[in-house]
Amino acid sequence: MSVMWDFDLEKKLEKVLLDLIETGPKHLREIANEIGVPLKTQSDKNSLKYRMKKLANMNEKLHFLGYTSEGYIVPSYADEFYKISKPLRSRGRGLIMKADKIDNHASKFGKKREVEQIELFEVLTDERASDA
């Protein structure tokens, strides 16, 4: 059965996350163990991550909570911030690359619409959307 997240448990998690500043990085499993939450299924993991994200949005001190290879950290040194931002940036770059690849494929192999008016309509709506 999945965990019943009550106020008490959420505050317990918030405390563990705030303590990351002192204790250093911790993996999801360690965090789960500390607050006494089982981490058996993917759903358990997702639920814990969701709560962490929610708390990070609510608490100013946790705004930059992020994941590094060493676990979740609340950065305080500049290099720690970069450690969190770097994978995010590469993920963004990857997405742009993939979008370019799709565009490239479309221009080479994308079929032409039989009815020209529809094609024209789609171009116009795209232009309008980009203008907005």
Partner: protein, 347 residues
């Protein structure tokens, strides 16, 4: 009632009186006003031993006279000798004044109720001062706070940094002692309105929040505590959603899904019912074959006998098929189609 001019040397201050905070600045203001327009109200004294007097009320006026270097002061001599009466008179005189702090008032009430010399009931005190018992209880509650917080409590309702009004501090009176003063200091520092203090106190009075969480909460700034209060209210309303078990007739649900009306006239339009009636109408009712008809078997020639038997077999197979089919439909209809479902409902 006689007003006499009494020498200042013969008058002693009452150290036991309810008021003990004397602001030097306001004292010099009072002295200046006495110098300008004279004394408007005489002080009240009572006779003690050796022809000396003790002040009942008018301590500030007495000090102002001393400050001005005057020799005598107009005074009314009180005929009341009872300690309680004098103390109550002093209290009644000061209670209306703005500069009389709520803590001084609370301490005076406490003294009157608990001191061996007075020992009067809350009810009597309330009636003598023309206040409600609730008013007295509220003041006494202020004494639950630590000395540091007590010093911060001021009269009036204006919220000032590092000071506390009664309205701000009273919602915290029932909070556990380990958090009470820390919260009150936080409230004073962050100038929290009384409404928000009530919310914060709700968090610390909640029984379903563990002491560990409360210890963590007490370290947080007020703005976050208010966020937490909203969060707590939300989680509480979610937890009060009760799951109710309900028996539901599945067949009804299915019927409603398929837009079947519950009207009994539509019963004959249900496909399976239609099928049943079609079959039932096409099969003649069973009756015993008469001996004459049975004897006609003999008329069947030997070459047709096999075909006759085959046809009977086909008829029996067909009838058995129908029997099996309708028996299974009967069984299905008889099966209990009720189920338990969880339905959420608010308290």
């Amino acid at each position: 009632m006689k007003v006499l001019e009494i020498a200042l040397d013969l008058i002693e201050e009452d150290t036991n009186q309810p008021r003990y905070n004397f602001d030097e600045e306001s004292l010099s203001e009072l002295a200046n006003s006495i110098k300008e327009i004279g004394l408007l109200n005489p002080i009240k004294v009572r006779v003690i031993n050796n022809g000396r007097y003790k002040i009942v009320f008018g301590n500030r006026r007495y000090r102002a006279f001393k400050l001005l270097g005057l020799k005598t002061i107009p005074a009314i001599i009180s005929e009341d000798q009872s300690e309680v009466e004098i103390y109550l008179e002093q209290l009644a005189e000061n209670i209306q004044r703005e500069s009389f702090s709520p803590i001084e008032e609370a301490e005076a009430f406490y003294k009157l109720i608990n001191d061996q010399r007075f020992r009067i009931s809350k009810k009597l005190l309330a009636s003598r001062l023309g206040k409600s018992e609730r008013y007295i209880s509220q003041k006494l509650d202020l004494l639950n706070f630590g000395k540091k917080v007590q010093q911060m409590i001021k009269s009036g309702s204006e919220i000032v940094q590092n000071r506390l009004t009664e309205e701000q501090v009273l919602p915290l009176k029932n909070v556990a002692v380990e958090y009470r003063d820390a919260l009150a200091e936080k409230v004073a520092k962050e100038q929290v309105p009384a409404k928000d203090v009530k919310r914060i106190s709700e968090l610390f009075l909640a029984e379903d929040i563990s002491p560990q969480t409360k210890e963590f909460l007490v370290t947080k700034p007020v703005s976050q505590l208010l966020n937490d209060w909203h969060e707590y209210q939300r989680s509480k309303s979610e937890s009060t959603k009760k799951v109710k078990l309900e028996v539901v007739d599945l067949s009804n649900n299915e019927m409603s899904d398929q837009n079947y009306k519950s009207d009994s006239s539509d019963y004959y339009n249900i496909p399976i019912v239609k099928k049943l009636y079609d079959l039932f109408n096409s099969i003649p009712s069973q009756h015993i074959i008469s001996d004459n008809v049975k004897d006609s078997i003999r008329e069947i020639k030997i070459e047709n006998r096999k075909e006759f038997i085959n046809t009977i077999d086909a008829l029996i197979d067909c009838l058995i098929g129908h029997v099996h089919q309708w028996e299974s439909i009967k069984e299905l209809t008889n099966t209990n189609r009720f189920t338990l479902i969880k339905r959420e409902s608010r308290k």
